[in-house]
């Protein structure tokens, strides 16, 4: 199904099932511990052996020698895989560093061996007997030092340009009566999802490889596995029906699955591999740290006239930048603008996507800057954001009008002269106003440090939320059987987001059956390829794919039952198919056998004709211990405008989960770099702190009523990541409001407060 015109009225608009807060249909499996996660799949294939991954002990250099004898002789050992013995390997399209290192080492804890044994304990014991000598080389591990070597990146991952410029930023900034020029820093962060990367691999006699794994993107993984092993794509089957969290850390083929496949080949039997927690931060990907310079020039009446956002990050050679400036191209008005991404090379592990890559760290900086310029202007930060709202994309000047000499036209006029690119929906102002009302924003004192409760300093902060809506092809298959049950099959994944449930709701709505009559089967590469889970694109696109398949199935049913499939009053409802003149039970259509249809949603240029984005507002109230600088969040509120909310219950879970991650980014999450040795030191959950329950006392999420006919037939958009975009800055701004100490370097740990003038009394 080609989606190239705005959606009209369609069966989803009935909202009998879609849009309802249905419980997760996979909930009972999860709460009873029976959902089959990768590491638990003892049943899928007999005779599984265990692999233990050995990570490189140096950050850069070479393996000088490997002595495997003692390990080979250890009890239970079946095989040892190293780069020497693995055979010729290619590299996945989406991997920056090789997943099996040696002799060259590209980063700390890069896998250098897999020891396969009868039991996990034997494999681990034997791994400790490997004797590896390294020849370390000098590496580059310090972003601050690498900053001056940064260049304009060739690719940005998102496909957006590395630089944009509109008007004359430097001139307009210079002439602005009120200016802000500050530099902000965000930390390296680790996904720290609950379930570690884990895989079981089995080869059959025909060279068919079957993988049970934990992965967000089934098709990418199958492709990159085939490419890495240099085997045909159709020889690889990937299954990942249940995933204990990913946050972007499981978007790609990783060492667990590749080494399981290599181990199974070497041991000639199925092999199970999971990464230990201590290996994950350095072996897999992370969110890159950033240095961001933001300059804003404003008129005294509060209008932004000039805004610039530059971001520096670093990655291994061949990697990409953290796209922290993207939201600044679209969020606030201002005639003169500039954004730039800069990328340096370093030798820390590879950076990549983590929940709302780009916008999460970008808004963490930008929304402090907005707070700062508001204060300089003496304008309430909610009012300042409303004042600088824009209904057209400000960074996207239309082509010059051919009838005029555009060079002599002021930039504002040029924008007006062309066809400005509008947002499909933009309710930022309503998000801010609704949130301010609900949160009790008017109780906030604009003077920092003016509310005290005992030894606690209390403050409130606000930030805007922004995240683009990404449209991606997504396919599905639906089947109606003789009993009237509907089965949905797609390689879509559910990483805890609620995919099972919203896909079932979509099929139930389309086919006119109750939710309990729908089965959903996910995460299998033998099913039609979906959009997968990432970048908050999963919900809208995968349900639209099921919509497309159900549209085809409805045609088959209509034909079977003698209805005109194009009749305007044809309805599937309450287990019946009917028009004004007649009705028939749905089950009658499958009297002679099940009906099955497959289709995909494919998008035209609606996302080029209209900027499709999601908006929100974050509010936070914190208290800060005046003595110790400990920051504790008291309340958080997010107001979101993100198209139709397919299931308010699962959407709420996504938002408050992301807000929790925002608290982590604001207050504690940071992979500490040993810039001498070259690794992330706190590489386990004792050292890498994420919020615990006691850190999150009260959260609320509000969804504005919105349908977006430009996004898909579902009229939904991505929503999950909106919950983290801006959340950290709201907390940071609340800390400033509480204390009067402005911290521009995340996370806002207490040392940065007590060393920067936090007043006890």
């Amino acid at each position: 199904m080609k989606f190239d015109e705005p959606a009209g009225t369609n069966p989803i608009d009935q909202l009998k099932v879609v849009g309802r807060p249905a419980d997760r249909i996979d909930g009972p499996l999860k709460t009873t511990g029976t959902a089959p996660y990768a590491h638990d799949r003892h049943d899928v294939v007999q005779n599984q052996a265990y692999g233990y991954v050995v990570g490189a002990a140096i950050a850069k250099g070479r393996i000088a020698s490997m002595n495997l004898e003692a390990a080979r002789a250890a009890p239970g050992v079946l095989a040892i895989v190293t780069a020497d013995s693995a055979g010729r390997l290619d590299q996945g399209e989406r991997n920056t560093a090789r997943l099996l290192g040696g002799p060259e080492i590209q980063h700390y804890h890069q896998a250098v061996a897999l020891v396969v044994a009868e039991t996990f304990e034997q494999a681990r014991d034997a791994a400790h007997r490997l004797k590896i000598r390294y020849a370390p080389a000098k590496g580059r591990f310090d972003l601050e030092a690498a900053r001056d070597t940064a260049t304009i990146p060739e690719k940005t991952g998102s496909g957006d340009p590395a630089e944009t410029a509109v008007g004359d930023f430097e001139g307009a900034f210079r002439d602005s009566p009120v200016q802000l020029d500050q530099t902000y820093r965000t930390a390296y962060e680790s996904h720290s999802m609950m379930e570690p990367h884990a895989s079981v691999a089995a080869w059959d006699a025909d060279g068919q490889l079957t993988l049970w794994t934990s992965n967000q993107m089934i098709a990418w993984t199958a492709q990159d596995m085939a490419k890495t092993l240099r085997i045909p794509r159709d020889k690889v089957r990937v299954m990942s029906p249940y995933i204990g969290g990913g946050f972007g850390g499981k978007l790609f083929l990783r060492a667990d699955v590749l080494l399981a496949a290599l181990g199974a080949r070497a041991a000639k039997r199925p092999v199970k591999v999971s990464l230990t927690r201590a290996l994950m931060p350095n072996n897999t990907t992370h969110r890159p740290a950033t240095i961001q310079r933001i300059r804003i020039g404003a008129q005294r009446d509060g209008h932004i006239t000039a805004i610039a956002h530059e971001s520096w990050s670093a990655d291994l050679p061949g990697g990409g930048p953290e796209t922290a400036v993207l939201q600044t191209r679209a969020l606030y008005a201002g005639a003169h603008r500039m954004t730039a991404l800069r990328l340096a090379e370093h030798d820390l592990p590879e950076g990549n996507a983590m929940r709302a890559p780009g916008e999460a760290p970008g808004l963490a900086a930008l929304e402090i800057a907005i707070d700062e310029i508001s204060e300089k202007l003496g304008i309430d930060p909610v009012a300042f954001r409303i004042l600088n709202d824009t209904q057209v994309v400000p960074d996207n000047p239309a082509p010059p009008d051919p009838d005029k000499n555009s060079d002599q036209t002021a930039p504002e006029a040029r924008l007006d002269a062309g066809r400005p690119r509008r947002f499909s929906q933009r309710q930022l102002v309503r998000c801010l106003e609704t949130g301010a009302e609900r949160f009790g924003w008017k109780r906030r004192r604009s003077k920092p440090g003016s509310v005290r409760a005992g030894h606690w300093l209390v403050g409130m902060g606000v930030a805007a939320a922004f995240r683009n809506n990404l449209l991606t092809k997504s396919a599905a298959r639906v089947r109606l059987d003789r009993r009237g049950r509907v089965t949905v099959e797609t390689d879509m994944t559910d990483i805890g987001t609620g995919s099972y449930t919203i896909l079932a709701q979509t099929a139930a709505e389309m086919m006119g059956v109750p939710l309990s009559q729908v089965d959903v089967r996910l995460g299998d590469s033998s099913f039609p390829a979906s959009c997968g889970s990432g970048g908050q694109w999963g919900g809208n696109n995968s349900t639209a794919g099921v919509y497309a398949a159900c549209t085809q199935l409805r045609r088959l049913v209509a034909a079977r039952l003698g209805f005109d499939a194009d009749a305007s009053d044809l309805a599937f409802s309450d287990g019946e198919v009917r028009t004004a003149s007649r009705s028939a039970p749905l089950m009658l259509a499958t009297r002679d056998g099940p009906l099955e249809a497959e289709d995909a949603i494919e998008y035209g240029d609606l996302d080029e004709r209209f900027q499709q984005s999601t908006f929100g507002a974050h509010f936070a109230e914190v208290r800060v211990d005046a003595y110790t600088g400990e920051v504790r969040v008291q309340r958080q509120l997010a107001v979101c405008a993100a198209g139709r909310i397919l299931n308010p219950k699962t959407a709420r879970s996504q938002i408050i989960g992301a807000m929790t991650m925002g608290v982590g980014a604001a207050l504690m999450e940071s992979l500490h770099v040993d810039t001498g040795v070259g690794f992330f030191v706190n590489h386990d959950l004792a050292g890498y702190e994420i919020p615990v329950h006691a850190d999150i006392p009260h959260q609320d999420a509000i969804f504005l009523d919105e349908v977006d006919p430009m996004s898909s037939p579902m009229k939904a958009k991505g929503v999950a990541e909106l919950g983290i975009c801006g959340a950290a800055a709201a907390v940071a701004n609340a800390v400033y409001n509480a204390t009067g100490v402005r911290v521009r370097h995340y996370p806002l740990t207490l040392d940065k407060l007590v060393q920067n003038g936090l007043a006890i009394a």
Binding site: D625, Y627, T628, G629, E630, L667, V681, H683, D684, V754
Partner: protein, 321 residues
């Protein structure tokens, strides 16, 4: 994990005898720290002697009005004991600020004292660590040291002791009772129990290989306002950046011990004399941290100790001791 043999002892004497018999043996109580370290092969005992069935899980009043805490008493039970809550509140407060409910259910009194540092360079066997591999150097000294010690450290080691309980015990002047395989018993004052790192950070206490902790004894109640203030980046389930255990009396006398700043619970008599003389948080902290050698990463702890001490003293005043 290295292969090991295992036995379950049924009396303190039998446990000590087993330890004397088998070289490389270790006692195991709750196992919350030892098992993790064994999986990483940082601890590689040849033999484990399970000390959970020794009858050491009682809390008894002593003749002089103090309290004798069996070595096997779980942290949860110790924290909840009414005598502890009433008369040694600093101990209950310290215990419940540590670890998680699940860990406290499992962890024992003796095991808590004997837990090892959480320095990440100690835990990562690829890194230099004089405590794990004497002579290999200290990775933390030139590395990431935000959590590390600022006083009593050496060029060989800047690790901290992670226990909250031990800080309260130091404040309370507890004594550690032990027995050896030959039946020798001794009582070690808590201040002498943990060692400073010096040139031998691998030696964290002076217990002999066959020496078993049987109890921790508290002196008779001393009254006062008893507080434990633990400062950390998140609200729960984190090791102290700085902690202050304090018993503050109406007359201005006080006992103060610090956690999170040294290789052992940190208490300085001159600092307490300073307090008794009417000194404030600044002068007292200066006495507590005399000779401090912070790193760039943990220099904030110097300020934080003073501020946390100020918070505790203010709270004690409010409590009207």
């Amino acid at each position: 994990m290295k292969s090991f043999s295992y036995e379950r002892a049924d009396s303190p004497a039998a446990a000590a005898a087993a330890a004397a018999r088998v070289p490389g043996a270790k006692f195991i109580g709750g196992g919350t720290n030892l098992l993790d370290l064994m999986k990483l092969q940082i601890e590689t005992p040849a033999h484990l002697i399970d000390v959970n069935d020794l009858g050491l899980d009682e809390i008894e009043s002593t003749d002089d009005g103090g309290l004798r805490i069996g070595a096997g008493v779980r942290n949860t039970d110790l924290a909840a004991d009414p005598r502890v809550r009433n008369d040694y509140a600093v101990l209950t407060r310290a215990l419940v600020s540590g670890a998680s409910g699940q860990l406290r259910n499992q962890a024992t009194t003796a095991g808590n004292l004997l837990q090892r540092t959480r320095c990440p360079y100690f835990y990562d066997t690829n890194q230099r660590c004089n405590k794990r591999r004497p002579g290999s150097g200290c990775g933390a000294l030139a590395g990431v040291s935000r959590q590390h010690a600022i006083v009593g450290s050496s060029d060989a080691c800047i690790a901290t002791h992670p226990s909250d309980m031990a800080v309260a015990l130091r404040c309370l002047d507890a004594k550690v009772s032990t027995v050896r395989s030959d039946g020798t018993r001794r009582e070690i004052p808590i201040e002498a129990f943990h060692r400073l790192p010096g040139d031998t950070p691998e030696r964290e206490h002076d217990l002999a290989a066959d020496e078993l902790i049987t109890a921790v004894t508290l002196p008779p109640p001393v009254g006062g306002t008893q507080l434990y203030r633990k400062v950390r980046d998140r609200a729960s389930y984190a090791f102290a950046l700085v902690s202050v255990a304090a018993i503050v009396h109406r007359d201005g006398r006080a006992q103060v011990a610090l956690g999170g700043v040294a290789h052992k619970p940190w208490r300085v008599e001159t600092a307490e004399r300073e307090l008794a003389r009417g000194g404030d948080a600044r002068t007292t902290a200066a006495a507590l941290l005399a000779g401090a050698r912070p790193t760039r990463d943990n220099a904030y702890k110097v300020t934080l100790v003073e501020r946390t001490l100020a918070a505790v003293l203010a709270q004690a005043r409010e409590s009207g001791s």
